[in-house]
Symmetry: D2
Subunit: 349 residues, 4 copies
C-alpha cells in the first residue's frame, strides 16, 4: 500500500503512521519528496484495513499495490480452472454453449427447445424456474415444478442443466435438481446468497452485476472460493451505461481482462447483454473471438409466445446458423469447439 | 401503449395485432402514416405483456404511455405518504435526520455516538448489525448481538432505530429489534427480500441501487406495496458513473423527480453518496435544498478508529455545524425542521 | 510517481528503470516487497512522461502522486480567484446569478427577458448567438446579429453579457461583444478553441463536458491558464449517465470537489443539467447549498414560444420565486448574495 | 410523433394542439384513453420542432416515431455505402485494416512502421500530425511537417493515409495531404468542424464521442451528409463508463446497431477502446466477428519509445499474428478480407 500524505502533514505524523505499520508486522517505507511525503507498507494489504488509514485526517490518498482478491487471482493459481458441468466442463481449451429458454414454461416447450438445441450442438441446457423480474406484475416462474421439468428434460436429452437461485432458502432445493446454480446479475452482491452457494458444493455461474466493475465481480467470486467452492464460472452479460440503443452495453473487453487477472473461466450471455434477438449472433461471435470459454444463449422453440424475454430469444434457425459460424471462429483462436452435432433431428415433433 | 410497426409490415399484420389487442379488452387504435403504421392500445398496459408484442417480428418498438408502477405512483395517491418511525415520522412538511455509525461496534461507541447525535438534534439512530461488504475479508458485523445493542441504545436515548436486513431468513429477527428495516443498495433488486420485507409490516428504508434508474427504484418499492406494506421510505445514495473523484455520483435530481412521480417520502444518504467526510455536509445541505424529506448520515464518536467506513463518518463537531446550517436552509423551502436540540449535553461520558 | 513492477520483473530491470529516473534529475526510490517490487520517482511527474514507462513490458501500473494540472491547482494558489464580469465579479464570498434565454431571438424577447431578470436581481445576462445543436435541422442561432443585440440589451439594462463561442475563427468577434466567452460542454476538449480563448484575454465560462471527469475539466482549464488567461469560471451542467428521468445527471458533488482542488470559481447550470423546467429550482437551490459561486439559468419571457430549449427555460414568476429562496439559503453558508432587486418593475413593457 | 398529455389536460387543450398540428400540414390523431389523452402527429417530425410542444405546460411527454437523422438512415438508402480511400475502399463485403503509429514522429519511425504494416497486409496508414491531448503539457504533434512526412511515407509504400484534423482553419491543409480526414472523439460534436469537413469533399473517418449515443453519432454524420459529403466512415472507439480496468468500454454492440440503422460503413479502433496493448488483439477479433467493415489499429516499430500512446501500440509481431487470425475469422461471416501480404519483407531497414 502506498500512503500519500497531505502537504501539511508534519514529520511527526509520518513517523507515527510508520510505527503503526511496523506494529502490524508490515514493512514500512519512508519516501520524503519535494511536494509530498509518501509512505509505503509492504505485505498483506488486508491487514492494513485495521489501521483505518483512509480516515486519517493527514492522509490524502491510499494506493493499493496488490489486488483485493486473492484466491481468484491468477497470481496464486496460474493455470486455468476447469469447472465440471455434468459430463462436460467449462474452461481450458474447449468452447461450450449452454442454450435454452428464459423460463421453464411447459413440457412441450422444454422438450422442443432442448431437442433443437442438442441437435444444433449445444452442451448444456438453461431455463429459469425462479425468475427475478423488475416489475412485481411480470411472470415470476414456476418454482420447484419448473426445476423438476428442467431436470427431466436435461436427462432425456443428455444435457447438464443450469438454473438460477434467488435466495438462500432455495439453495438446497436448486442444488438438488441442477448441475450448476446461477447467481443473477441483480444478486451479484447479495453476500448472504454468495456464502450459501459457496457452501453448497455445486458449480456456480456468477453473472456480473449491471454496476459491477470487473474487480467487484472477482471479489464476489472470492466470497465463494473463501467458502471452499472453487467451481465458479464468471459470466459477462452487459453493464449499464448511457447508451439506449441496446438494453445493456455488452462489455466485451471484460473477457480478456478477466482472463488476465483470474484463473476462473468466463462465459458470455449475449442475450441479456443486447436484449434484442438480432444483436445476439454478432455479440456471440464477438465473445468467442475475444476469448470467452463459452456462451449462455436464450433460444426458444417459439419466441413469439414466450412468457418472458421473448424479444431476445433466438429462433431455432438463427441458433443453427450461429453454431455453424462459431465452428469456424473458435479454431481461429486455438479453441477446440467440439460442436459436432450428435444428430440432425427434425424440429418440433 | 403505442406500437410502431416496421416499414415493411403489411396491413394484414396490423389488423391481426389490433384484433389481439381487442381480445384483451383494451381499446385498439389504428394510425396509418406516410412512413410507418402506428397502433395504440389504451387501458391497463400490464395486460399487454401477455401479447409479447416486443418479440413480434413486425413490431419495431413499443412506447409505453403509463408508468409500469401503480401503487407507488402519485397519480393513484396524490397526497404525500407519511411513514411512522417510532414516535416520529418521515414525510409531509417535517425534515428529519437519522444519524449513527456505519456499524454497531461496542456499547461505549454506540452510547457516545447516540448521546451526541441526540444532543445535536437527530431524530433517529442508525447502525448496521449485518454488514454487506464488497470484500469477504472486511468486517461483516456483529449480527443479533449488534441488534440488541442498537435497540438498547435507541431506547436509552429515546431515538427510533433503523438497521439493515440482508436476507429473507433474518427479516423476523431484525423486525423484532428495529423500528424500520433498511434494504441496502446491493439488495434493491433482491426480489425475494423485497417480498419478505413487504410482508413483515414494519416501515422500510429502501436504498437506490448503484445501477438503478428512478423507475427501477419505484418498481422495487412497488414490490413491497403490492405485498401490503405502504410504509416505504426511498433513499438516494448515489449511482455509479465514470467520475472517480467521489465514490458514487450523488444524483440530487432524483429527489425532485421522485417527489413528482410518487407519494412516498425520500431521504438522502450523502455519506455513501460521497464516500468522503469532507463532502458530506455540502451534499446534505444540497439534499434539503432540493426537497428531501430527511437525511441518513454517518457520524461516529471516533471516526479514526471506526471498524468500517470511517473515512465517510462525520466528526461530532462537523455534524453539529451541519445541523445548524440545516436549521436555516429547511425553512427557506417551507420545511418545519424541529431540530431544536433537547439538551446540549457534553461529549463523551 | 509510484511504479509497480510485474511479479516476474528481474532486479536488473528495476535497476535500469531507477537509472533512467535518475538521469531525468528525479529522485529514485527502491521498495522491494514480498510479492512485488515497487519503485518511486519523486519530482515533477510531467518529466516522467518522456520515459514512457506506461508502455514498459515489465511495468504493471503507474500511480501518480501529484495532480496532472498545476496552475489551476489550489496547492499552487491557495486563495480563491475572483473573475471579473463587467462591473461585477464571480468568486469569493459573493453569489451571482446570470440569467437569460437559451438563444437570442428578437429585440423584444431580449429586452423583455432582460428587464425581468434585472428586476428579479440577476447580475448578468446570457443568450446564445452561435448555437451548438445535436441535429443539423435545429435552429443554429443568429450569429453576429445576435451578438449585437445581446450587447445592446446588456448595455441598456446594465448587465454584463456572456455568450458561447463555437470556433477559433469566431473568438475575436465574440470577444468584441461579450464580457465573458462561454465554451460549451461539447467543446470542452476542443483544444484548439481552448488555446485561442486562452490567448484572447477575456474572462471565460468553461462548461464541463458530458463525459468529463472533474480532472478533465481542470486540465481543460489548465490549457487556458497555460496561455496566460487566469480569468476562468468553471461550470457544472450535468454528466451523462444511465438515468433517463433527467436529460443529464447534475453532479452536485463536483462543486465541493472543485472547490477543494482548485482556486477557480465554479458556477452551476441547472437548466441544462436537468433539461426540465420543473427541476431547475430544486437544482439551483441545491447548487448554492453545496457551495457554488453562482448560477447560470435559462429564463425566457415566453418559454412556450422559445426557438430552442423552451422546455427547460423558467417562466418569469418561477425565476422570481427562486431568487427569493436563494436570498435565504446563500447566507446560511456564509454567502453574501446581494440580490436586492434594484427596482420591482412590472413585467412586459 | 406521439404526444402524451397530462392527466389534468382539458379537452380544449387537446383540440388546440390538434389544430396547431394540422396547420403545419401534418396529420393529427386523437386518442382519448381512460387515464390519459394521447395525440399523434404523422409526417415529417422535424416540422414539429417549430411547435415547441416539449415546453407546453399540458404535455407530459413526446415520443418520436421516426429517427431524427434522415440522410444517414438505411431506410432512405438501403444499400451499403462504400467510401473510397485512395486506391482502396471501406464498406461492402471487404474488410480493411488501417494501421500506423499514434503520432508522426520521425522519418525512420514512419518508414519502419509503414514497411512492416504493409508487409503484414494493412490497407492504409494512419498517424497524427495534430494531436488532441488531455494535458497541455503532453506532446502536441508536428503539424504540417508531420502531414508531409505522412504523405511521403504513404506514397512510398502505396498506402492511402488517414490523419486527424482538429480545427476548421486546418481543414484545407489536411485535405491537401490526406486521403481521408479523421474527426476525433473529442470533436464529434464540434459542429463548426463537422460542417467544414462536410464541405471539403474528402472522405472522413468520424469517431464516436465518449459520451455519444449511437444516435448522436449518426446525427453528427448527418451534419456532413447535409453539407453534401456522403463519404463518411463511422468509427467505434469506446465510451466512458464506470469500469476502470480499461480506459474506455469498447461498445461492440454499436457495430451491429449502426449496420442496422445506417448505410454508412463502420470501423473499430480497438487501440483507443482498450488503451492497453494486450487488449487490442481480442478487441480487434471481436470487432470483425461482430460485423465491422475494418479496423484502425495503432502499431509502432518501437512502442517503448513512442512519443504518445505507446502503451496501446502493438509490437510488429503482435500485429502480424493478429492479421493471421483476422484472415480466418473474416470469411466465417462472409467477409472477403484480401489481406494477402504483398511481400514478406524484413523488419527494420
Amino acid at each position: 500500500m502506498i500512503i500519500v500524505l497531505k502537504r501539511e502533514a508534519s514529520p511527526e505524523i509520518a513517523q507515527e503512521i510508520l510505527r503503526r505499520i511496523e506494529e502490524k508486522d508490515l514493512k514500512p517505507l519512508h519516501m520524503p519528496g519535494t511536494e509530498r511525503v509518501v509512505l509505503g507498507a509492504l505485505g498483506d494489504e488486508r491487514i492494513l484495513a485495521e489501521l483505518a488509514l483512509d480516515s486519517h485526517p493527514m492522509v490524502e490518498s491510499l494506493k493499493p499495490i496488490l489486488a483485493p482478491y486473492k484466491m481468484v487471482s491468477r497470481e496464486m493459481h496460474p493455470h486455468d480452472t476447469i469447472v465440471r458441468l455434468g459430463k462436460t466442463a467449462i474452461g481450458g481449451r474447449g468452447f461450450k454453449v449452454i442454450a435454452g429458454p428464459c423460463a421453464v414454461e411447459t413440457e412441450s416447450q422444454m422438450r422442443n427447445t432442448a431437442r433443437f438445441a442438442k441437435a444444433a450442438g449445444a452442451h448444456g441446457l438453461r431455463a429459469g424456474a425462479f425468475k427475478p423480474r423488475t416489475s412485481p406484475y411480470a411472470f415470476q416462474g414456476h418454482g420447484v415444478e419448473g426445476l423438476k421439468l428442467l431436470r427431466a428434460t436435461g436427462d432425456e436429452f443428455g444435457l447438464p442443466v443450469v438454473t438460477e437461485v434467488m435466495e438462500t432458502a432455495d439453495v438446497d432445493i436448486v442444488a438438488e435438481y441442477a448441475d450448476a446454480l446461477q447467481i443473477g446479475a441483480r444478486n451479484m452482491q447479495n453476500f448472504s446468497l454468495l456464502k450459501a452457494v459457496g457452501r453448497c458444493g455445486k458449480p456456480v455461474v456468477l453473472k456480473r452485476g449491471m454496476a459491477a466493475k470487473v474487480e467487484d465481480l472477482l471479489l464476489a467470486a472470492e466470497y465463494m472460493l473463501a467458502e471452499g467452492n472453487e467451481q465458479v464460472i464468471l459470466c459477462e452479460r452487459g453493464i449499464r451505461t448511457f447508451e439506449t440503443a441496446t438494453r445493456n452495453t455488452f462489455d466485451i473487453s471484460a473477457i480478456p481482462v478477466v482472463k488476465k487477472l483470474s484463473h476462473l473461466p468466463i462465459v458470455a450471455d449475449p442475450s441479456h447483454g443486447a436484449g434484442r434477438r438480432d444483436m445476439v449472433a454478432p455479440m456471440a461471435r464477438a465473445a468467442v473471438a475475444a476469448g470467452a470459454d463459452g456462451l449462455i444463449i436464450e433460444v426458444h422453440c417459439d419466441p413469439d409466445h414466450a412468457l418472458s424475454d421473448g424479444a431476445q430469444s433466438m429462433f431455432p434457425a438463427q441458433f443453427d446458423r450461429l453454431m455453424a459460424e462459431l465452428r469456424i471462429i473458435a479454431p481461429a483462436i486455438g479453441r477446440s469447439i467440439c460442436l459436432e452435432p450428435v444428430r440432425r433431428g427434425g424440429w418440433g415433433s
